[in-house]
């Protein structure tokens, strides 16, 4: 359903002012925020970049054209540019666990384990090339499917699948090696 609707949206030539901004905001904020978290880590920086993304989108909303892309795709394009600008300014990669400042309602042991896993995963993510980390952020941070990622990045769906498969395989190997070191 979602795919057909996105395709349908893309074919409609209406201006952005018909987008219900508040609805879009609440629907897209978690996805954009997590894309940036997986991309750059750190809670404060992630919040800053998320805010920049939405403010840019808001300012440029009249430039948005539904006949060219869905609103979500347009928003992710802005978010990708914001993240890339951030890296061009040579800001350091920070870890995901710093963002997890609000603990879930879990027992303490689970939370400690989760924080530990989060910390280890962030360290592994910082070793990835930009492209691989961005694809992981789009896939797992924002929950986009390969087709949506292809529309954003210009890579083919099969290429994305291959890169993600290879990246996760390498991450898994490193994770297991690290596990043995811990054990």
């Amino acid at each position: 359903v979602q795919t057909s609707v996105l395709k349908w949206l893309a074919s409609i030539g209406s201006p952005a002012r018909e987008v219900e901004w508040e609805a879009v905001y609440f629907a897209e904020l978690p996805r954009i925020y997590n894309f940036i978290r997986y991309r750059v880590g750190d809670g404060v920086v992630a919040e800053d970049l998320t805010a920049i993304t939405f403010e840019k989108a808001w300012r440029r909303r009249h430039q948005y054209r539904r006949d060219l892309a869905s609103f979500s795709t347009w928003l992710f394009t802005i978010a990708r540019n914001v993240a890339n600008d951030h890296f061009r300014q040579r800001r350091p990669h920070l870890s995901l666990d710093e963002a997890a400042s609000v603990p879930d309602q879990r027992n303490l042991e689970e939370e400690v384990i989760r924080q530990s896993d989060c910390s280890r995963l962030s360290r592994l993510l910082t070793t990835l090339p930009d492209r691989e980390r961005e694809l992981l952020a789009l896939k797992y941070g924002s929950g986009l499917n390969n087709r949506e990622i292809a529309a954003l990045t210009g890579l083919s769906e099969s290429n994305i699948g291959t890169i993600l498969h290879r990246t996760i395989k390498n991450l898994r190997l490193q994770w297991n090696e690290n596990e043995e070191d811990h054990g």
Binding site: V5, A27, Y33, T50, L96, S101, V102, G143
Partner: protein, 341 residues
């Protein structure tokens, strides 16, 4: 320290976090403080459309949830009349709705939910025959358009003009909440401000043009936009999301779908998955929605009445909405629609 052992998709997704509520709210307020540069008239028009489609979505959604013939017929009347800018279809499983009706020892009477909430304030009365398109235009107050070309053997029959009507809905969210509770759906909230609220629908005149080829029939319905008002504070995507969750759409997909479309100008058309399929079609640059009966695609047994078969083509152009439906082949319906000028 003990850690999770398997790095898989779920593992990687588990590190998602919702934005801090304080951050989300602060950013929302910051954005909302900036004024919209739209002219007043545009805002007014948008506001009116919001009212309009809210009622449409609610009516059609409720009707589709039920699936009883009388209700379907009534919903069909709405569908033919509503002014929309575009249509979007979603499949739903009627068997799921039947199962819902059986929950709580059959106390979830969905049929009652709708029939008790619709009040006819003004009957449309029987349609009147118009001798020509020009007379029909005069009677209906709209420019009646007809296909300039008809498939081989298809002939135009009567043109009829239906009177205007006024309906009123009284929303009952208690039962809706009961349905959600019975299905253990807790991720959506029924807007409380909707309970007991009334939605008034003014249905304008409608022009019906009938066509036939032997036993095969088709009807072209065209109408101007009705006026619908909805209580303030009702958030359209919320209603769509509730409908999708009840219809069985997974949480993430329902939310994304509901919030990715401008429902102020979009009519949600629920299509029973077991009896019909749908696709978008191009009508000379205008997008239409073609819904085809699955039964109509196969050879019809003599025992099955022809009325169970057929196709429906929906589209909107200018300030009018069109519906071309019948048992004439869908390809021919498309050709007829393309010939309307």
């Amino acid at each position: 320290m003990k850690t999770r052992k398997t790095m898989d998709d779920q593992f990687l997704q588990d590190f998602r976090r919702d934005p801090r509520p304080e951050f989300a709210e602060a950013l929302r307020q910051k954005l909302s403080q900036k004024p919209w540069p739209e002219p007043q008239s545009r805002q007014h028009a948008t506001h009116r459309r919001a009212f309009l489609l809210a009622g449409v979505a609610a009516a059609v959604t409720l009707a589709a949830l039920l699936g009883f013939p009388s209700v379907r017929a009534r919903a069909q009347q709405f569908l033919d009349l509503f002014r929309v800018q575009r249509f979007v279809a979603v499949s739903f499983d009627p068997a799921r709705l039947e199962r819902i009706a059986q929950l709580k020892d059959g106390k979830l009477d969905l049929k009652a939910m709708l029939s008790q909430s619709v009040e006819v304030l003004k009957e449309a009365g029987p349609p009147q025959v118009a001798d020509s398109p020009a007379i029909a235009s005069q009677m209906a107050g709209i420019e009646v358009r007809l296909p300039a070309w008809l498939p081989d053997g298809v002939v135009q029959e009567q043109i009829r003009v239906g009177g205007d009507a006024v309906l009123r809905f009284v929303a009952n969210t208690t039962l809706l909440q009961d349905v959600l509770d019975a299905l253990e759906i807790t991720d959506v909230l029924v807007p409380q401000e909707l309970n007991g609220a009334t939605v008034t629908v003014h249905l304008p005149t409608v022009v019906l043009t009938h066509f036939s080829r032997g036993m095969a029939k088709a009807t072209l319905t065209q109408a101007a936009s009705p006026a619908i008002s909805l209580p303030p504070g009702v958030h359209l995507p919320e209603l769509v999301e509730i409908y999708l969750r009840i219809a069985g759409t997974p949480m993430d997909e329902a939310r994304r779908f509901a919030y990715s479309i401008d429902w102020r100008s979009t009519l949600l058309v629920p299509v029973p998955a077991n009896v019909a399929s749908f696709r978008e079609v191009d009508l000379g640059g205008t997008k239409g929605l073609l819904i085809e009966s699955n039964r109509g695609r196969r050879r019809r047994p003599a025992s099955r009445p022809q009325s169970e078969e057929g196709s429906m083509l929906l589209w909107s152009e200018g300030d009018k909405v069109y519906c071309l439906s019948g048992t004439i082949r869908s390809l021919e319906l498309l050709q007829m629609a393309n010939a309307i000028h």
